[in-house]
């Protein structure tokens, strides 16, 4: 069984973000594997293992031929990667990203399943996985908290507002997984060494047969028209607990007629 995992490479979320002069997210310095996608990588490795063979291929769209995040996922055990990097991609939105990633999936060849995260840490639109599926003409099973493969079918537990639904579809299909579905393994020393020699197929927008007009600012067909700091909320009263402060809370609730 062959599985493709979409992995986003993002600036370290621990460092405060900032905007470039053209109002896109600053993506300088080393990028890392989005933690949300580490669950997808682990899931793919386990599914291929259970199926008794096959390959895990990573696809990623990132600026400046960035591979640091891909190397992390390769060190976990993924077999190879396709990296789409091109100056024309600056400003690409979710739909453009899906167009690119769907083409990258096609380039990966014989694919049974595509796994992505429910939402990325820095973009969190959460639309890219079903958009990829629609581009490919495949079913999308979203918000999976459990994934099983059998008899040419994928079955998931789909997180819902009220609990979960059991949903299935035949392969090939796209699945988006929530955080915590599996415990991502730590790359071993051997894995890290092996990752250095695993193939990364670096391609451009043109190589994928897409026009530069499909992606970037032009393809996004939207304009950032205003950026301003959020209004601050005022602090009220702050008191040290002296054993009786609970009464202040009770009083506060009373004044609001909550109790």
């Amino acid at each position: 069984m062959n599985v493709v995992v979409c992995v986003k490479q993002i600036p370290d979320p621990a460092t405060p973000g900032s905007l470039d002069s053209d109002n896109t997210l600053k993506r300088e310095g080393k990028l890392i594997l989005d933690e949300s996608d580490s669950f997808g990588v682990e899931m793919a490795l386990q599914l291929v293992d259970k199926a008794g063979g096959g390959e895990v291929t990573l696809v990623s769209m990132a600026p400046n031929n960035e591979v640091s995040g891909l190397r992390t996922a390769l060190a976990m055990g993924a077999h190879k990667a396709i990296l789409v990097s091109d100056d024309a991609l600056a400003g690409t939105d979710a739909l453009g990203t899906a167009k690119v990633l769907a083409k990258a999936v096609e380039r990966a060849g014989d694919v049974d399943l595509v796994i992505a995260a429910t939402e990325s840490t820095d973009g969190y639109t959460g639309t890219v996985p079903p958009q990829i599926a629609e581009r490919l003409g495949w079913p999308s099973l979203t918000y999976a908290r459990k994934v099983e493969i059998g008899d040419g079918k994928v079955t998931i537990e789909r997180q819902t507002e009220a609990g979960y639904d059991v949903v299935d579809a035949s392969l090939p299909a796209v699945v988006s997984v929530t955080a915590g579905v599996v415990e991502p393994r730590y790359p071993s020393f051997k894995g890290i060494m092996a990752a250095k020699n695993k193939p990364v197929d670096q391609v451009t927008v043109g190589d994928l047969g897409l026009s530069p007009d499909d992606v970037g600012w032009k393809g996004a067909r939207q304009e950032i028209t205003k950026v301003e700091p959020a209004p601050a909320r005022q602090a009220g009263e702050k008191i040290e607990d002296d054993g009786e402060s609970f009464q202040r809370i009770v009083q506060y609730l009373e004044n609001l007629k909550i109790i």
Binding site: L95, P130, A169, V227, A230, K238
Partner: protein, 322 residues
């Protein structure tokens, strides 16, 4: 000037429209001359009255059977758009809302603006406001595409107010094809029991963070206080990720936005990603043993103290009153 036609993708649970849907209809009334809804579910007639009350003149309805709702919605709306040409379609940033808007965007080849917290209309320009960097920066983005514009809005971005007319007219939609996407079949539904109001609808929300110390403290501190105040219990991501409570309780950027009359934060530091989900509350009370915790910068009443000492006393006092 208003838009001539605004649509809302309507969702319901057990025959009752979601509050997020009613919020969108209220906004649609303000910015559109004609407001209509698209509903995918078995019980369109049951929801039509309420959708009408909040402003929908018509409800285009499709029955998904066992197929994933959002997939059917995308196919149905794609067909309807050709015929009726709405200017703007609003979706809730919900599970099915995101499935629907994502698939539809590809079918129509239109960009989507997601995580919206405001919608502005000036002439033909439609602008969606979002908050980034944990809510520190507000960004307005204006569509420059062909219509219809597609936007997903975070629940609790607008107030829901009735003001429409009688029940909406139900118009059945048929003859669309979702292709292989329609294979996604719901075999079984598991509904977990919930006591009290929903998190996003509660008047009082009591949330716990890592400061409550251990998973077994959530029930006696957070849930108990929420119950006594007839409210709902929430959580920071730290304790959701740690597996102490389910994801549905998470408040913040990657969880729910809540705007209760009172929000009580217990042992929560107040990371920007948490605060963006609750700083719209009318009143904020915080208990944290660290006097420098950022949560105090937005709390109307801040108690610098130990939750294990303060909260049991509140609970005791409330019980003594009832």
């Amino acid at each position: 000037m208003a838009l001539s036609k605004v649509w809302v993708y309507a969702e319901a649970e057990g025959g009752t429209p979601l509050s997020a849907t009613l919020e969108l209809l209220t906004k649609a009334r303000e910015i559109g001359d004609t407001v209509e809804a698209v509903f995918v579910g078995a019980d369109a007639d049951a929801v039509a009255a309420k959708l009408g009350e909040y402003g929908a003149a018509k409800v285009y309805a499709a029955d998904p059977g066992q197929t994933l709702t959002g997939v059917v919605a995308a196919a149905a709306i794609a067909k309807l758009v050709e015929e009726h040409q709405p200017d703007l379609i609003l979706f809730a940033q919900s599970y099915d809302g995101r499935d629907a808007i994502a698939r539809l965007s590809v079918k129509l080849d239109r960009p989507v603006l997601t995580n919206g917290m405001s919608v502005g209309v000036e002439g033909d320009n439609v602008t969606v406001g979002t908050a980034i960097f944990g809510g520190n920066l507000l960004v307005d983005t204006t569509f420059r595409s062909e219509k219809p514009y597609l936007a997903a809005i975070r629940p609790k971005s607008f107030a829901a107010e009735p003001g429409g007319a009688g029940a909406a007219e139900v118009v059945k939609v048929e003859g669309f094809d979702a292709g292989r996407a329609a294979e996604a079949t719901v075999r079984d539904r598991h509904v977990e029991e919930r006591e009290g109001p929903k998190l996003e609808d509660a008047t009082v929300v009591v949330s716990g963070g890592r400061g409550i110390g251990a998973p077994e403290n959530y029930e006696p501190l957070v849930e108990e206080l929420a119950k006594l105040l007839k409210g709902a219990s929430g959580a920071s991501r730290a304790i959701v990720d740690a597996g102490w409570v389910p994801y549905a309780k998470q408040v913040g950027q990657t969880g729910k936005t809540v705007k209760p009359r009172v929000y009580i934060a217990l042992g929560i530091s107040g990371a920007t990603q948490h605060m963006v989900g609750m700083k719209g509350s009318d009143n904020i009370i915080a208990v944290n043993k660290d006097g420098e915790a950022p949560i105090f910068s937005i709390a109307d009443l801040g108690i610098v103290g130990d939750v294990h000492k303060v909260v049991p006393k509140i609970i005791e006092a409330l019980k003594a009153r009832s």
